[in-house]
Structure formats: C-alpha cells, structure tokens
Amino acid sequence: MSFPWAEQYKPQNPLMQWLDSRLPLPRFVFNAVGAGYPVPRNLNYFWNFGVLSGAALAIQIITGIILAMHYAANGGVAFDSVEHIMRDVNSGWLIRYGHANGASMFFIVVYLHIFRGLFYGSYKAPREMVWLLGLVIFLLMMATAFMGYVLPWGQMSFWGAKVITGLFGAIPLVGEPIQTWLLGGFAPDNAALNRFFSLHYLLPFVIAGVIILHIWALHIPGSSNPTGVEVKTEQDTVPFHPYYTAKDGFGLGVFLIVFAILLFFAPNFLGHPDNYIPANPMSTPAHIVPEWYFWPFYAILRAFTVDFLFIPAKLLGVMAMFASILLLFLLPWLDTSPVRSGHYRPLFRQFFWVLIVDVLILGYCGGAPAAEPYVMISQLAAAYYFAHFLIILPIVSKIEKPAPLPASITDAVLSKQAN
C-alpha cells in the first residue's frame, strides 16, 4: 500500500519496460526505497538507524562469509584457525576485527533504533506488527551474537557457552536433559561448536528474511514521524529518493567513520583479553561477563540471589531475564495513550528518561563483578525496569494530559520554521 499521491514507476527505456512486464524488480525497489515511497517530511536523524542496522547486517554477512572460508569449526583447531586468520590470511585481521566490532556496531544502531521506537511511540497502532517483528529480529540477533562469540573457542567462548546453555538447565525437571541436548554432550565440545557454527551461519539469513517482513509491515501504514501525527496530505510527505537516500547516506558516512575509529584504533576495546586464551574446561576465568550488549539482561539474571517460595533463585533469574525481553512484546497494549510521540507527553517523557538511565545502570552492573554494591543496585534497577512497563506506563497513559498536537506534519514543520 502507499499514499495515492505516490510517484508511479514509468520506465522509459524499452528494455526496462520489457523487464517490468516480466519481473518487476526495479518497480519493487522504486516503490520500496525509491521515489515511489512517500515519507513524512519531518524525519530527524533518529530515523537513520533502520537503514544503518541493515548496513551493519550486510557488513556482518560479507565479513562472516569470508571468515567461514578460513575458519575450522573443530575443538582441536578452532582457536588456531582464528589465529591463522589474524596472522596468515591476507587482510584476515581486518576482516575478523571488522566482524567482531561490526557486531558491536550492529547492536549500537539497533539499540538506538529501539530507543527511537520507544520515545516516539512507533510501536503503537497501526504499527504493532513492525514492533513485534523488530523484537523477533532482536532475539535472533542475540542468539546469533552469542553463538558467534563461542566460535573462537577461547576461554570466554567456552565459558560463555557453558553459562548460557546453563540457563536452560534452570528449567525444572527437563532442564538438565535440555542442556545436554543443546550441547550434544555434558560440557561444550566439538558437537556444540559445530552446531553453533552451523546456526551462526544460518541465522543471519533468517534475520534478513524477517527484516523483509519488518519493512513490508512498515510500508503498509508508512513510516511514523517525530510528531506522531499521521500523514494527511501530499504536503506532509517527500519521496524517499532522493530526500531520505541522501539523509541516510550521510548517516551511513558517520556510522562508517565511527566504525573505522573502533576498528583501526581500538579493535579490542570492547572484547575480553581472556578470549585470547584457548578454551580450558578445567579453569574458569576469574571475571566472566558477556559482551557489552548483553549486560543489562545479564544484570537482571544475576539480581536474583535467594529462593522465593518453592522457586529456586537460579530459575527466577532466568525467567526474569527472558521476561525482560518478552515484556516488550506486550508494549503496544501496555501503553494505552493515543498520543504517540514523547514530544507531546510531558509525564511519559520524564519516566522515559528514568527508564533509559535505569537500563544504563543495569548495563553497568551487568559488566561489573557479581559483588556488592552491584548486586543490590541490580536488584533495584531490575525491579524498576519491570515496574516501568507493568505499572508506571499504564498509569501514566491514563492520568497524563498530553500537550496539544499540531494539526498536521506540515503545520508542525512550518511553525517550527516561523519560530
């Protein structure tokens, strides 16, 4: 679907006309990211992060396919094959560092993309499906990132694999058999490494597929915008190309500069030195933490230290960690305010920033050692996280008096210019 004033694809070249009547792929591109897709005229730079996420996925797939040409998924040689990539393969260091830091860049832009959605209420009707599919992509990304981190078969890889599959061991009765089944053994070994490699190669393509659904679902109502007011007339929109291709192109340039700084000047800044020690099932590193993008969830996992009623602390932590993400699937129905954008929701806005600080605190605690005061802080922050979505948000939606909305996107833009 598109707005009735969308530009039509009219190929002039006879070859393109011939192609259009047989395989209308250029028409598809024109309508998806070309002049045929009208987009609100007031999008700010926060609307860059969808395209940047796509670019990050492309970088991961390209570098990943190349790494798979040189990597060997066998417990005996996996670590050495990664060192072989670093030392022997032409530009191997660049490709591996690009892949490792590309994962971090991917999560940075995806978190900003989610942040945008949370602030501007992009998850609300009629875009719930866009939000839900986005969360599916996020879950797939986390699984992919975790399995990828296991592949170098260093100490953090090995113990990461052990701890994360241990999460499933918390399930009552069937937990241990499930963990054994996941690993194909009693501890991470060849079987686990091989299946993780296989799935790590597969899942990015699944992600790419879900992204197509995500964009498809987005293009039914069209993009949201910073005012949260729906598009009403042709005046409210501009064609995606050249307006947003240029804006996204600029954002891509900035993204690549940041990526290059990380890649060329601090390639190990976000990694752990312990992962340069080969996997040793007989000794756990003193301080094991996941990669930074898992820290907030890791803090929630560790926040549960005592059994509650008949539920063991281990199970509580695992349930809370999964719940903290699954909760987001309910968000479109927890936030009942008809106003989308945080700009026009004074009370929501305050609590929104508290939530952001809360998640940052959780992230900090997740990266810190499992000792006081971090455990106590994690517990409070985790409690607040759930309270925000389950208690504060529904109440705020009820009692808040939103600021007056502009009559249209064009009105908002023009009044801003007049000021």
Binding site: I62, I66, M69, H70, D88, V89, N90, S91, I95, G253
Partner: protein
C-alpha cells in the same frame, strides 16, 4: 533583476548552468564509489595464498642417494615433483631429437643446469589436465619414449620430459631451482 540574480546565487547556479547541488551530489557519490572499491580489495585479496602457505613455497631436497636411472617423487607446493638422475643413454637419447620437430621445442640443455646435465627436475603434473604421469617410481611404465607416461589421457613424455605424443600441450614444467651443494637442491 536584483531579485532574480539573488535567487540564482542562492541556488548556486554558475555561468555554465551547473548547480552547486549537482557538484556535491557527483562528488559524494564518486567518493563513496572509490571507498566501496577500496573496501573490495581486502575482500578479494583474502582468497590469495596466505602467509603460511607461502612460507612452505620453497624446499630443500637431498639427492645424494639417487642412482643413475632412478627417480624420486617429492612434494613441492602440494604438488608432486620428479627428480631424475638420467643415465648417459637417456641423455644421449634426449639430445639426439631434432628440436624443431617438437610440439614445445626445448633442448635438454635448456631444461637442466650447466654441469648437472643428468639431473632432470620437473613438476609431476601433466600439462594436459593435471594428472600425475607414471615413470618416476620403480617399475612404473615410462611410455614409448622412455620418459614419463600419463595414463589419464595418454600423453607420452621423453627422457627430457618433453611432450612427444598425446594431448598435452607443453613439456613437464621445470620449476625454479638451484643446487646449494653437489647433493642438495633447493626448489622454489
């Protein structure tokens, strides 16, 4: 007039009718193209032999135990190498051939080192489609020209490992090598 001039200035249109925006557009897209092209170089180059493969690219072989009439097979760059100690009769047979009649004209002199005429060192890879010819091992068929015979498609090589009959286009390749002493040869 004044307003017209001003608006033309704002749009950045110069005398030739080129807009400022056109220039920026072309410059930006060209720069991005150069960047993408540059990024392609390592992505393509990574498929070339890696440092560990190149490190094994030259070997030393002790040839002191090879008697006249004998040959050994060794491995160089993951391919078989034939090192053959020619007998006087084999040398004579190779030198008797009229080079002009050959498919790949080369003399035995050109295919061996000065003063080491009896040491024929070639790749054991048929120049037709890459099989390993027979004739280096004890008791293997040497073919009707007494050198090597490739059983895959029937190429016959003579005692200087030159192609004499069959589909192969070239003589067996002589690698770059040198004698580091009377009994040690370095290949590659």
């Amino acid at each position: 007039m004044a307003t017209l001039e001003q608006s033309a200035e704002n749009a950045g249109i110069n005398e030739a009718g080129v807009r400022r925006r056109d220039f920026i557009n072309i410059a930006a897209v060209s720069f991005a193209g150069v960047g993408a092209g540059t990024a392609l170089i390592p992505l393509v180059n990574q498929m070339n032999p890696s440092a560990d493969v190149l490190a094994m690219a030259s070997i030393e072989v002790d040839i002191s135990a090879i008697q006249p009439g004998q040959a050994i097979k060794t491995m160089w760059r993951k391919q078989p190498m034939f090192i053959r100690n020619l007998t006087a009769a084999e040398i004579a047979a190779a030198e008797k051939v009229d080079v002009a009649t050959l498919r790949d004209p080369q003399t035995l002199e050109e295919r061996t080192k000065e003063g080491k005429r009896n040491w024929l060192i070639t790749k054991g890879v048929c120049t037709h489609l890459g099989c390993v010819p027979l004739g280096a091992g004890e008791g293997e068929v040497k073919g009707e020209f007494g050198g090597y015979f490739c059983p895959c498609h029937g190429s016959y090589y003579d005692t200087a490992a030159r192609i004499r009959k069959g589909p192969a286009p070239k003589n067996l390749e002589v690698p770059e090598y040198s004698f580091t002493s009377d009994t040690v040869v370095q290949i590659g």
